[in-house]
Symmetry: C2
Subunit: 504 residues, 2 copies
């Protein structure tokens, strides 16, 4: 005899199929049940409660003993003391439980919808890229914060700190197959290994929109217009935020006068970008270290303090590219209808080495937060990767600061789980029928939270309240014999019986 045939060890099912249901076998009697007034705040069935129910339901097979009958084999060695792991996500990263995920989805949907309205196509790139894509010589903050490592094949790779270099890589790769101008957007997670100060995280999602193939300032104007459209959709006005706009060509024109070599340009920009973060003497020292004369530095700092385009024109003259492009942008802003949102500010240079022309950043007018978004023109990025240059501009818009701003302004949306139906069998034997009902409703596009266990109606109402179900559909024996189900509209309390086929 095979040992198997004698192995009728534990005839009891560890998961009980007994109906726990208060109304078990009862027919559906709609007038009998009432939504208890306090069910919304009633204590939820908790984890530990369930865990202990579970253990009492399963442990009496005698798993604790060394030999003899064992109730169930388990992949976890129960005799060993299991150390509880750190249940938090790694430092600087986030979980998205349902409530946070709803906010993320809401935000991303607005990003996507604005991008769609502007005729942009969505793209994405690997979150893990070759390190070389992000290593530039300008001393950017981004380089020191690179989340880089060697993979099992000894390749230097990095979690992307930004999306633009990947865009450039893909555009070079696609080459002639792309028709210009291309308008692309992406929503991708980016990583920066920062010392964790002031609650800054090491990952964030970034919405990018980029236009490639357009040398005209209309591209910048269109991009800023899309951010304005986004702000308006979520209730942010021009009294909450603004854009500071300048052009790297302003610096170029100053540096040119002092014969500063062109390959220092990126470096100088990076230093200047830190002007509000580190003491001015330190800025001067760093600029001096690149080879700039003290006279040039003073001139530079003077120009950077200019907040008026007229003043800039007085100093630089009106014929240079910087002034002409900026004037063009402000003129277009008027036509686009967002001139209230933007202002010239020569101190804006942005912290990435590759910008070549107009740069801009979104800021909160109360001055409490970091830049909300930033972007600019980067006509020379592709050649740094060995490709042919293509005129390009774009912006990045993170998912962190905007949420802070929405909180500040009391504009965070209230987002709840909402299901159309909760479907419940009045008896476990009717579970299959309830499933049939759920399937029918889902085929009609209705969402259904199907109660998969035998529970008292009181529990079902609590659950319905938590999931904001619009309708309770009850499957009872008496009704089902007539092919009918009971329905209760949860907002009004209205109740009726209806043939399953007629349930819309």
């Amino acid at each position: 005899m095979s040992p198997l045939s004698s192995s009728l060890l534990n005839p009891r099912l560890s998961f009980s199929l007994k109906p726990l249901f208060l109304f078990s076998q009862s027919s559906f009697a709609p007038r009998k049940f009432q939504i208890p007034r306090q069910f919304v705040s009633a204590k939820r069935k908790t984890f530990s409660a369930l865990a202990s129910e579970q253990s009492s339901a399963t442990d009496n097979g005698g798993r604790s003993g060394g030999g003899g009958r064992s109730g169930a084999l388990s992949p976890s060695p129960v005799v060993e003391e299991v150390q509880r792991i750190d249940v938090n996500p790694p430092k600087g990263t986030r979980d998205f439980p349902p409530e946070d995920m709803r906010l993320r989805t809401w935000l991303f949907n607005h990003f996507r919808e604005v991008s769609r309205l502007f005729g942009f196509e969505e793209v994405d790139y690997p979150v893990l890229e070759s390190e070389v894509l992000f290593i530039r010589k300008a001393g950017e903050e981004i380089r020191d914060q690179l989340y880089c490592f060697e993979d099992r094949g000894n390749r230097r790779v990095a979690l992307r700190p930004e999306l633009t270099p990947s865009l450039a890589r893909l555009v070079i790769q696609k080459g002639k197959s792309l028709s210009l101008p291309l308008k692309w957007f992406a929503i991708g997670q980016c990583w920066r290994y920062e010392r964790m100060t002031r609650g800054r995280r090491r990952e964030h999602y970034q919405w990018n929109m980029d236009i490639l193939g357009l040398p005209e300032v209309t591209a910048e104007a269109e991009l800023i217009s899309s951010i304005v459209a986004f702000f308006k959709r979520i209730g942010i006005t021009e009294s909450d935020v603004g854009f500071k706009v300048s052009s790297r060509k302003v610096l170029q024109e100053v540096l040119r006068c002092y014969s500063v070599p062109e390959n220092l340009f990126g470096k100088v920009c990076i230093i200047i970008d830190k002007i509000e973060k580190i003491p001015i003497d330190e800025i001067k020292r760093e600029l001096n270290a690149t080879g700039l004369s003290e006279e040039a530095i003073e001139e530079l700092l003077q120009v950077l303090s200019i907040k008026s385009l007229t003043k800039l024109e007085e100093i630089l003259g009106g014929a240079g590219e910087a002034v002409a492009e900026l004037k063009e942008l402000f003129s277009l802003a008027e036509k686009f209808g967002y001139s209230e949102w933007i202002q010239f500010d020569a101190s804006v240079v942005r912290g990435l080495a590759y910008y070549t022309g107009i740069v801009f950043e979104g800021f909160d007018r109360q001055g409490k937060l970091r830049a909300i978004c930033g972007g600019g023109r980067y006509d020379r990025l592709l050649s740094t990767f060995g490709g042919d240059d293509v005129p390009a501009c774009g912006f990045g818009f993170g998912d962190a600061v905007i949420v802070e701003l929405l909180k500040e302004k009391g504009l965070l949306p209230k987002l709840n789980l909402e299901v159309d139906n909760i479907v419940c069998a009045l008896d476990y034997d009717l579970q299959g029928v309830a499933a049939e009902v759920a399937t029918k409703l889902r085929e009609k596009g209705q969402s259904v939270d199907l109660v998969l266990e035998s529970k008292p109606l009181k529990w079902v109402f609590k659950r319905a309240a938590r999931t904001n179900a619009q309708r309770l559909v009850l499957v009872g024996n008496t009704e089902w014999q007539k092919g009918m189900v009971g329905v209760k509209i949860l907002s009004s309390g209205e109740q009726y019986e209806i043939k399953l086929d007629e349930l819309e």
Copy 2:
């Protein structure tokens, strides 16, 4: 005199504002232009063409000389020979250019919509997790393929190879604040460092649905039901795919008879999962190495070959959990309406150590592809992390094999960029007005590809064809003086003038 005031070096704007437009200054004359018949296949304006236009337009400032006037400072050192980077994404990873992104979005939208119909809430976790979360002692393939490294803070971290351990971590963390059963879904990128054979990639996206807090088999039934619903939505039928279903408790009952220690259970499952991949003698050797007797191994392999639940019941007896649960599942499958999709197959054990009960996998009936999806019950996972166990089951559904299957079946959707409008100024001076028109339309929810440069109408029509624009809106001087714009419905050729305010 400041050196700045003498810096009027290059009065020419490098980006031409000259209208290139064939019809420049012309009034809008709708009957004059025709869509050229061949415009769809007409040669696109290519990259290199634009790049050379660009360089001829900007390089005559004389950047090539060593000293003297330089047209523009550039962040890229032009004198150095720039090595072209590898333009491909890192080995085993993917870019998502627009056409691929549309497919991904289409797929994810179906994942999301099915999950919504089933009342599941979306969640997410960090793509970078602590390595310890994925290190189990069962010798799973997943462990050898972990994309792990040390971060700058000397923490052992890993790009997640799957989502379930993160779910378990979050559930332990949230503890009593969660109300059960919880129904969660996630769509996340997962990483496995595999030797690159047969075009397998190192990252893929995975749709997960999980139910926690339900010991009943209704949970498994509901999960399989949701996958069936997904297949149906995308045109896959029960003649294309099926589910093989078994229970780890079948193995448990066999092993129990041979007094195999319970902590070997996971290991044995992992070995058995490879049964179709490596020679049977190797399987036997590995099983033997865990301490199983030859008799036990033969018995095990015999049971694993069973494809009928009746046969299983004959051998194991009807009273054990394995048979009872499986019978319950097949009975529910009938009620849910997908019994044609599932079949019992004792050889299915799945390759993850933590499964404890019913396991299942989706397969293509032609047998050409790897498993399409897989899942099962994992009632003991939380305690391996030091948490209280909660009954749980779920599945993972990758984005790779399903696309292969859709290709095989000719079911890949045709997805094109589609914009509602292309808006174009007939003169660069009217660019601002065109922007105003675009803004108005976008505020009404219409998507607009705004032509941001001066282009001949022929080009505009080509662009409209590429973007599948439904309507061309032309802004011309004569019409605009009356507050009107020209409209051409691109499908019918119908043309008319209309007041901007009346444009819907």
